[in-house]
């Protein structure tokens, strides 16, 4: 039974320990992630496809772990023109951090190897890898990243995974004058939500929301912010296009 498989996976990978996202001071939320907008240092993007709404498979697993739509990207990177060194990177963009943890479990269910191990220090909030770090799977915010070798020369992918993770969590040092971000309310009670009005960006851009004191999720296709603690919290919205970033910031008072 697929549910037996899910149960065994949960036990094997200690899912109960990481299923519910831990409270973090800074949380990241990605929208319309595209590999071309988040270049990997020293790697050249060869091609990428976007699947707007994947259908979780197999169906038995879908029934067992029904959840909202997941948007996926699938990209191949090489070192210049040398495809002997190549990376295959698949991302899954979920509606929330919690959904990303379930998606992480689903990706684990698609690995045939029984020796995949937990490796949170490699990248992300929760991570797994092959013992020689030739594959890394991690969740950061609402994004799940599967990075593995695709070429003849097999490499340790952990440094690249870490570099990508740093890009996912960083914000530019200066804000852009051309962008503006706001929330539907200037103040909100802890545990309640305000809608984030994103700056106008071209349709090809990816968006990164870095929120302090709470986290962002998608509700009815709109990003909403929910503070975890009282105080004044920054929400920084970063648009990413072809490796160029522009940022805007707003503050929410949580009571």
């Amino acid at each position: 039974m697929a549910s037996d498989f899910i149960d065994s996976l949960k036990e094997r990978f200690g899912f109960d320990d990481w299923a519910m996202p831990e409270t973090r001071d800074v949380n990241v939320f990605l929208l319309r992630f595209h590999p071309a907008n988040v270049p990997l240092p020293q790697w050249t993007l060869q091609h990428a496809v976007v699947i707007e709404a994947i259908e979780p498979q197999p169906k038995g697993l879908r029934a067992a772990e029904a959840k909202k739509d997941v948007r996926a990207t699938d990209a191949v990177w090489t070192q210049g023109d040398d495809d002997a060194r190549a990376l295959h990177v698949t991302t899954y963009e979920c509606a929330s951090r919690e959904d990303a943890r379930l998606q992480l479990l689903r990706v684990l269910s698609e690995l045939q190897s029984p020796i995949v191990e937990r490796a949170d220090k490699t990248a992300g909030e929760v991570a797994f890898q092959m013992p020689k770090k030739t594959m890394t799977l991690f969740a950061r915010g609402n994004l799940v990243v599967l990075m593995r070798n695709a070429g003849e020369k097999v490499a340790n992918v952990a440094p690249t995974a870490r570099a990508l993770d740093e890009q996912l969590t960083s914000t530019p040092p200066a804000m852009s004058r051309d962008l503006a971000v706001s929330t539907s309310k200037a103040s909100v009670a802890v545990g309640k939500r305000v809608t984030i009005a994103l700056p106008k960006a071209d349709a090809e851009a990816s968006v990164k929301i870095v929120a302090r004191g709470g986290e962002v999720r998608l509700e009815k296709d709109q990003p909403v912010y929910e503070p975890h603690t009282a105080g004044e919290h920054d929400i920084t919205v970063v648009t990413m296009r072809g490796g160029t970033e522009a940022a805007a910031r707003t503050t929410v008072k949580a009571k």
Binding site: F5, G60, H88
Partner: protein, 386 residues
């Protein structure tokens, strides 16, 4: 004044494929424009593709629709008789097999503008009994009446695919959809399964050819923990895999069992089979196997076992159904749990079997692993292609 062919249409009834070609497309992005052959546009055989299913056509006479025009671009053409009707036929080069045969002599009538409009013509051939892909040339001839000799006025080239049955899922006949059979897939599958006259033979040949892609084209993903590279989110990235087959990089050299099961089922189904990609498991120990791309008998990558395994599978994907596994060869010796001897056997319609039956399950899974190596038919899928 001259005589020209304006167009030839093989798929002229998109609701049926019993006496005409089925609806196809080239790949995920490109459709096949109708009529398939157009004067001045279609040059190579592959510019004018048509696919037929033996099971759908049966003993029916296949019909094409063609249109002829009188043009000033061509050399002199005799004055049309009155009424303005002539006979037209197309013939194959001698000793060259064309599953459609010749185009039977047909009387066509020109209007005052020198246009026959679309004319239905019968072909004389029969599809045969086996899978094939054939580039054909038709030499077109006319005569003014039955007493006159035939005069050649044109040649056309076409690529004809012969399938066993209408393609199984994910392939369908939904007009305009991306799951219409792709000619880029049929180019591969019809060549691989050339001559197969049964679904079992066709799926077996597909399985053989996929496994034989290792290690030059694809190999098992030991470094990645057996992760999938050509299936994503319930879809088969057929575009990337075809790129790999055509010498491009695709998504790289690695595959896992889900990829292999998907490739076998999707490719076999393009020929009219009805395979699924389905899992077994979970978390079971292995006998020594020969993984795709490897020349070493060992448990997969030396891991000792699989958390799951996925294969092409027939019927309900139960232990009574046949397995097509292009991901690995099992040991066909009397004792598959150890070796030597190692007798490589590629599972092709090998029944999964009960524990102790010395069928697929026993050859794949170790003695200790067999109780947890069970068919999981609720995981069976026929993944859409992208």
């Amino acid at each position: 004044m001259g005589l020209e062919i304006y167009s030839i249409q093989f798929n002229h009834d998109t609701g049926n494929a019993t006496s005409d070609a089925m609806t196809i497309r080239r790949n995920a992005a490109q459709t096949v424009t109708l009529p398939e052959w157009r004067n001045g546009v279609s040059v190579k055989a592959s510019d004018s593709p048509a696919a037929y299913a033996i099971g759908a056509v049966g003993n029916n006479t296949i019909k094409i629709k063609a249109r002829f025009i009188i043009t000033t671009r061509k050399p002199a053409f005799p004055t049309l008789p009155k009424p303005p009707s002539i006979q037209i036929q197309a013939i194959n080069p001698p000793k060259v097999f064309n599953p459609l045969g010749d185009v039977a002599p047909t009387t066509v009538t020109f209007n005052t503008k020198g246009d026959t409009g679309v004319v239905t013509m019968n072909v004389t051939g029969h599809l045969g009994s086996a899978v094939r892909v054939t580039n054909t040339t038709w030499t077109w001839q006319y005569r003014l009446n039955a007493k006159q000799p035939w005069t050649t006025f044109a040649t056309t080239q076409h690529r004809i695919y012969v399938l066993l049955q209408m393609p199984g899922l994910p392939w369908n006949q939904i007009a305009g959809g991306t799951q219409l059979p792709w000619t880029e897939v049929l180019d591969v599958t019809c060549a691989w399964a050339n001559g197969a006259s049964t679904q079992i033979a066709a799926a077996g040949l597909i399985t053989e050819h996929v496994f034989a892609l290792g290690p030059g084209t694809i190999t098992y993903d030991c470094p990645g923990g057996g992760s999938s590279h050509y299936t994503i989110g319930g879809n088969f990235n057929c575009t990337a895999f075809l790129s790999r087959l055509q010498g491009g990089f695709g998504n790289g050299q690695y595959v896992n069992c889900t990829d292999c099961g998907t490739i076998v089922s999707v490719f076999s189904n393009s020929l009219g089979c009805n395979l699924w990609s389905s899992r077994m498991g979970y978390s079971f120990g292995l006998n020594p196997i020969l993984g795709i791309g490897s020349n070493v008998w060992q448990t997969a990558c030396g891991w000792g076992g699989f958390s799951y395994h996925e294969v092409g599978w027939t019927g309900g994907c139960t232990q009574n159904d046949g397995v097509y596994d292009a991901c690995l060869e099992v040991n066909g010796s009397n004792n598959p749990t150890t070796g030597p001897p190692f007798i490589p056997v590629l599972p092709k319609n090998m029944v999964f079997g009960a524990t102790g039956a010395m069928l697929y399950r026993d050859r794949l899974a170790s003695v200790a692993g067999r109780p947890t190596c069970n068919p999981q038919p609720n995981t069976r899928v026929q993944r859409p292609v992208v």
